[in-house]
């Protein structure tokens, strides 16, 4: 576009235009970072990945146990996954880091082969790791932001296989043991943005079967052991139940808007939110889904899987609130205003704490505001227990 000729007679205006162009294009390219904080926990620590580092926090106080890496030159948004004393997390250069859970030191780092030709010129662009990792005794499995799933040896950090998908895998893969009557063998299940659900042999990386979901599935898969099904939310505004025996979709539930993540499952009830802020409670039956209740809880997107705790369903929203609603009918019990958008996973600190008002648990969320990157709220009232600043 010859947008610039008009300014040739006026250098100042021309420079002004360039500055505006640079600012606008740059602003459009990277809106408020790239993603939200990844928050997970085990029985001792809260693990948070955000931008240049991963931190381990004391769940009761928010005190920092360790930070990784020391030079803070990474870019992490994936969900940290803990297994047998090691934290596994991918970064935005396609690397997978195995970190000692106690010390925060790297055990190993897997670096993908870029196919370097000369200098910075390579055959493969650096890809991002957005998903969490699935881990077994032999391998670590994770999806890449643009396409493919990679398995890396847990011992040697070498790539074992790559499984090709046509688009990114952003949800954490799921390993489920499957019995053929004689042997038990794990199967790796993955939902992809390419609209397919894949069942993969974790040893060989070969596809066992796949099923079209009709839309992108960016979130986590939820496994129902009782019925041997998985539940998946999609961008065609459907919650799907996929039977792992027949490989067929056995139930669908239509929502008002896109579903990002999988539902929370408790006692044959599924709880999940959509990207307009609706929260749904749906009963699972052998005949399909039956809606129990639906509430317009938030003013903006509910992205993450809700947390079910006691009689509460707790969700975070892009509208900068955390909501606790009744499990029975979805009526609001409390809400807490936050400084930033609440898009990360919500975790519960299982230890019961006490103050003047009585005993409580802490609900930990990540927000988009650095000053309040991690916020711990009291489960009884939503008041702040502690917060961690970036």
């Amino acid at each position: 576009m010859n947008t610039f000729g008009v300014f040739s007679s006026s250098p100042r205006r021309l420079i002004g235009l360039l500055l505006v162009l640079v600012v606008l294009l740059t602003a459009c390219g990277g809106v408020k970072g790239d993603s939200w904080a990844g928050v997970s926990s085990d029985d001792e620590y809260i693990f948070v990945s955000h931008n240049e580092r991963v931190v381990a926090l004391n769940p009761a106080s928010g005190a920092v146990k360790w930070e990784y890496p020391k030079d803070k030159n990474g870019k992490f948004f994936a969900l940290p996954v803990v297994d047998n004393g090691t934290v596994f997390i991918g970064d935005y250069e396609g690397k997978l880091h195995a970190i000692n859970r106690e010390t925060g030191e790297a055990r190993w780092v897997y670096e993908p082969d870029q196919g370097t030709i000369i200098g910075p010129i390579s055959t493969e662009p650096k890809d991002r790791v957005i998903s969490g990792a699935a881990v077994d005794a032999e391998r670590v499995y994770f999806g890449l932001g643009s396409r493919n799933i990679v398995a890396v040896s847990r011992e040697t950090a070498e790539k074992v296989w790559t499984f090709e998908t046509d688009h990114g895998v952003w949800g954490t893969p799921l390993l489920i043991p499957v019995s053929d009557g004689q042997n038990d063998q794990d199967v790796l299940y993955v939902a992809s943005l390419d609209h397919f659900f894949y069942a993969i042999n974790p040893v060989t990386g070969k596809q066992l079967w796949r099923k079209s979901l009709g839309g992108a599935a960016p979130g986590n898969i939820v496994y129902d052991a009782k019925r041997n099904r998985v539940y998946i939310g999609t961008f065609v505004s459907e919650l799907l139940a996929l039977d792992l025996d027949s490989h067929e979709i056995v139930a669908r539930y239509e929502t008002d808007n896109w579903l990002w993540s999988g539902p929370a499952l408790e006692d044959d009830m599924l709880y999940f939110g959509d990207l307009t802020g609706n929260l749904y409670a749906v009963k699972v039956t052998d005949d399909g889904f039956v809606q129990d209740w639906k509430r317009d809880v938030a003013d903006d997107a509910i992205r993450a899987t809700p947390l079910v705790f006691d009689d509460l369903i707790i969700v975070g929203s892009k509208d900068k609130h955390v909501y606790a609603v009744s499990k029975e009918d979805g009526s609001e019990v409390w809400n807490a205003k936050t400084d930033g958008e609440v898009l990360s996973e919500i975790v519960l600190v299982s230890d019961e704490l006490e103050d003047d008002e009585g005993s409580y648990n802490l609900v930990v969320v990540g927000t988009s505001e650095g000053d309040e990157l991690v916020l711990a709220l009291k489960s009884t009232s939503g008041s702040e227990g502690w917060h961690y600043s970036d």
Binding site: M1, N2, T3, F4, G5, V6, F7, S8, S9, S10, P11, L14, L17, L18, V20, L21, V22, L25, C28, G29, V31, K32, D34, S35, W36, F77, Q114, I117, P120, I121, T123, E124, P125, K126, D127, R128, I130, G145, S146, R147, D166, H167, G168, W170, L193, H195, G214, A216, P218, F235, V236, S237, N257, W258, W260, L275, T276, A301, K318, L343
Partner: protein
């Protein structure tokens, strides 16, 4: 505020993606062509305005010199000059102000639909005007060796972005008037034009290095379509691009259809022998005050003129040359 533009653009882009068999590159090129075509009248208007302003420059300078101690008089004289020749000095800027949000909207639509990061994909929700298009989200990101959501690892696209942007700049940047000795302002404008021809391609090249290669496709398509548009309109100044300078007669030939140019030349000969330049004719169109750079003095005739007085009742002797008898 940009949502008013971005949201329909996203919907159209996804619709094109759907009907073009899921080919992202074809969708981006088609969409870019559609937007360029839709904004063509604006682009042409802007070009006309730019050219008109440039041709008035010598006259404007003369006014500035004449009233250098009286700003008010200078402003009044300038304004009268603009009115007489029907030039709106803000026309180019206004056109640009309309074009710019469209450019940014198109850019944003491509970034969001390629959805390289979770926040971009989240941003896409609620933007679709046709909910059925949800099944097309996100766009496929594989094309040849490229991952369209990531920068090109082989650096082919950034090089093409730089080359095509340079070519477009070189072809389309209006010529600066030859400066009289000691005319610092014109020299400065010429230097700035030259700098822009260099800076713009480099700047877009840097964007292409760090942004998704889908955007580089858009930059390249936009440049090629822009060049093609102007080529079809016969507005490309090849001689200037080749560094042979652009004299007035060249410009007449390259900016006008051949038939008109022939008529013009014939009429111009008559004018040059029989009609004195109008008193208020812009200096650039009259015989140059400085030493001419051409072998043949440029014969500025009425039909070749871009600027014509538009004020009602004003007779432009150049536009209607008197004939003897």
């Amino acid at each position: 505020m940009l949502d008013i533009i971005v949201n329909p653009f996203i919907t159209i882009l996804l619709f094109l993606y759907q009907i073009l068999g899921g080919n992202v590159v074809l969708s981006i090129i088609t969409f870019t062509a559609m937007v360029r075509l839709a904004t063509l009248p604006l682009t042409l208007r802007q070009q006309r305005s730019t050219k008109a302003m440039q041709e008035l420059q010598p006259e404007l300078k003369r006014i500035q010199e004449k009233y250098k101690n009286d700003r008010e008089r200078a402003a009044q004289a300038q304004w009268e000059l603009y009115r007489e020749y029907g030039v709106n000095p803000m026309a180019g800027c206004l056109t640009l102000l309309i074009q710019f949000p469209i450019l940014i909207g198109l850019y944003r639509a491509i970034v969001v639909t390629l959805a390289a990061t979770p926040l971009q994909l989240l941003d896409l929700s609620g933007r679709l005007w046709v909910s059925d298009l949800s099944s097309q989200v996100p766009l496929a990101n594989k094309f040849l060796w490229l991952n369209l959501a990531m920068p090109d690892p082989l650096y082919v696209l950034p090089i093409l972005v730089v080359a095509t942007t340079y070519l477009q700049q070189k072809l389309l940047m209006p010529p600066t008037q030859p400066s009289a000795p000691g005319d610092k302002q014109t020299d400065q404008a010429a230097a700035m034009t030259r700098q822009m021809t260099t800076i713009m391609p480099i700047m877009f090249g840097i964007f292409a290095l760090s942004f998704a290669s889908g955007l580089s496709i858009y930059f390249i398509a936009s440049n090629f379509i822009g060049i093609g548009q102007y080529a079809l309109l016969g507005r490309i100044d090849i001689k200037r691009m080749l560094g042979r300078g652009s004299d007035e007669s060249d410009e007449t030939e390259t900016t006008m259809p051949a038939k008109t140019a022939r008529k013009t030349t014939a009429k111009a000969s008559a004018i040059s022998s029989s009609v004195k330049p109008a008193k208020r004719e812009p200096a650039a169109l009259a015989a140059p005050a400085a030493k001419p750079r051409h072998k043949v003095p440029p014969v500025r005739d009425a039909n070749a003129r871009v600027i014509k007085p538009k004020r009602s009742g004003i007779h432009d002797s150049r536009a209607q040359p008197k004939t003897k008898g």
